[in-house]
Symmetry: C2
């Protein structure tokens, strides 16, 4: 009753942020942080304009580019705050917020909270109802195994659904849509947040990936994920830190999603060497993050060992020197 | 340079209508007709509110529910009109507007024009540049053979692209998106009208259908389509009109897309009999339209003959009496 699969994460964020601002008329602040996924920030920048151009977007800075600025966010929440919106697990460092804590703090000031779960869902247990979360969006691209452009999802807590309006009022959200009435009359419940026809083929194609996750169970997935990120961090400490690699992810397991970023002044060239010479495929995230993602369903400990060994060799043997520091188009 | 494939038709219509209203600041009227696809009207109703709630949506009535109210639309265009938006081929009757004529009329009053091509594209030649069209959207569901929820498209005339802003400012429209800057800076040209990641799988899956259409050529497709709709109308005249069927589509070939609607007081029951007893699958569109779509690439003349014969038998033999007049959920 609280989740629908449709559109892209950006479109879903647009819908929920617009709906939240309209519902919170009289409050004109949106709060987020500089660890949020840039697409979310872009969407919020335009949403703030469209909502009447009197809205302010406060972008709170992380103290170190790794950890979420939890206290600063909490202290910024005020009577003017319409919406607090954050990536639950942030895309560069993999830092994971304490969802229940910040949600409760926001509610104390009357703000709604919208979490982007793209880097959390399928990687760690997320209990939106227990945390009394208002709104959430996310993709099925990453740990749900859907691949690029697979359908995204949105969540609205059940008691909020009646109060919010979908800005993109398409026919799939219409009451008795096949009556083809010419006056928009939203369907009850969450269905009104559908817009156009959902991508039927893409939706059916993500089912096998979801089935595997359900079968494994999120507790088991999280258990293996933490073992794997801990394992990499152990190897980093032993082999990579002495070679100039920095750990750009939290050391505290409970503050981590399922990816770990390592920094290095030669990060981009190392990244290229890793892909080309060792067939290990990380992402590169400027300025220096080599981001290694662990999908517990199929990533093995041996692969992690080989990746760390490769990172070691690339610097020790100077393999990275064979690669240019020109950024490629897609990283 | 003028077409991108992304999102759903409803989302694309939302983007372009919002962009048009923002560009046309000072003009507060949107004009459409009551033959337009309801989802388009729903989107426009919300867009009119979001654009500042001072916008008026004028819904011009067709004189007969079949033909577009061309003269009335033309006469309604005025200095307050920001946007004229219509389905090029309308979903019930299959009436096709003279795109070049109404576009030119709208331009004379300074209005932008947005055409929904969902029932035209792949069914008849559409030359947007020749008609100097401003904006267009459409689906790949129907005559492009993409199926439900296949990616939709949007068109912006090249010289307009610089002036319009995408309300859903996602990362795929960002200049150098993989820099992950936190300030939205739209890419030049049409790319800024992308929002989230396009559905890669769905996009690749529509290619074979497009290839077939390109190979056949739109002139040949249109030629066969007109022969087929004419053929059905001939059979209607000979067999079906005497049995109480009405022609709910234009008689003039140049005013027709590639579907024909037949009306009957027992339309819904006939529709059910047609599907169940004869395996001919039309759509039913209230109040009485049995809509027969002809996809020239694969619809045969024999199938049309059999469909018309079935419609004849269903009434002559009273087959429809075996079916209830309760509307099903999906029609």
């Amino acid at each position: 009753h609280e989740v629908i699969l449709a559109d892209s994460t950006s479109v879903n964020l647009f819908k929920l942020a617009m709906a939240a601002l309209q519902y919170q008329a009289g409050r004109n602040r949106i709060i987020t942080d500089d660890l949020n996924f840039p697409s979310d920030v872009y969407i919020l920048q335009r949403v703030a304009q469209l909502a009447g151009d009197t809205h302010l977007l406060s972008l709170i800075s992380s103290p170190d580019g790794i950890h979420g600025p939890v206290e600063q966010l909490r202290d910024q929440l005020d009577e003017q705050t319409a919406l607090l919106t954050l990536s639950h697990t942030v895309f560069k460092s993999g830092y994971t917020y304490d969802m229940a804590y910040l949600t409760a703090e926001a509610h104390q000031r009357g703000a709604l909270v919208l979490w982007d779960l793209s880097h959390s869902v399928g990687a760690l247990p997320v209990d939106l109802n227990a945390a009394h979360v208002d709104l959430a969006v996310g993709c099925s691209y990453k740990y749900l195994n859907g691949g690029p452009g697979a359908p995204a999802f949105l969540y609205i807590r059940e008691d909020l659904q009646e109060m919010l309006e979908n800005p993109i009022s398409g026919w799939m959200g219409q009451h008795k849509m096949f009556n083809f009435d010419l006056q928009y009359q939203p369907e009850a419940g969450l269905r009104k947040f559908l817009s156009g026809t959902p991508p039927v083929l893409s939706m059916s194609l993500i089912e096998p990936g979801l089935d595997l996750l359900m079968e494994a169970g999120m507790q088991a997935v999280r258990h293996k994920s933490l073992l794997q990120t801990n394992y990499l961090i152990g190897l980093w400490q032993e082999w990579l830190e002495p070679l100039g690699y920095t750990l750009n992810s939290p050391r505290q397991p409970e503050q981590r999603g399922s990816h770990v970023s390592l920094g290095h002044v030669e990060g981009l060239r190392i990244d290229k060497a890793l892909i080309d010479a060792y067939q290990v495929v990380p992402d590169f995230r400027a300025p220096d993050n080599i981001r290694l993602g662990f999908a517990p369903l199929y990533t093995t400990f041996e692969e992690i060992y080989r990746a760390a060994l490769a990172l070691k060799e690339i610097v020790e043997l100077g393999v990275y020197l064979n690669y240019s520091d020109q950024p490629p188009e897609v990283t």
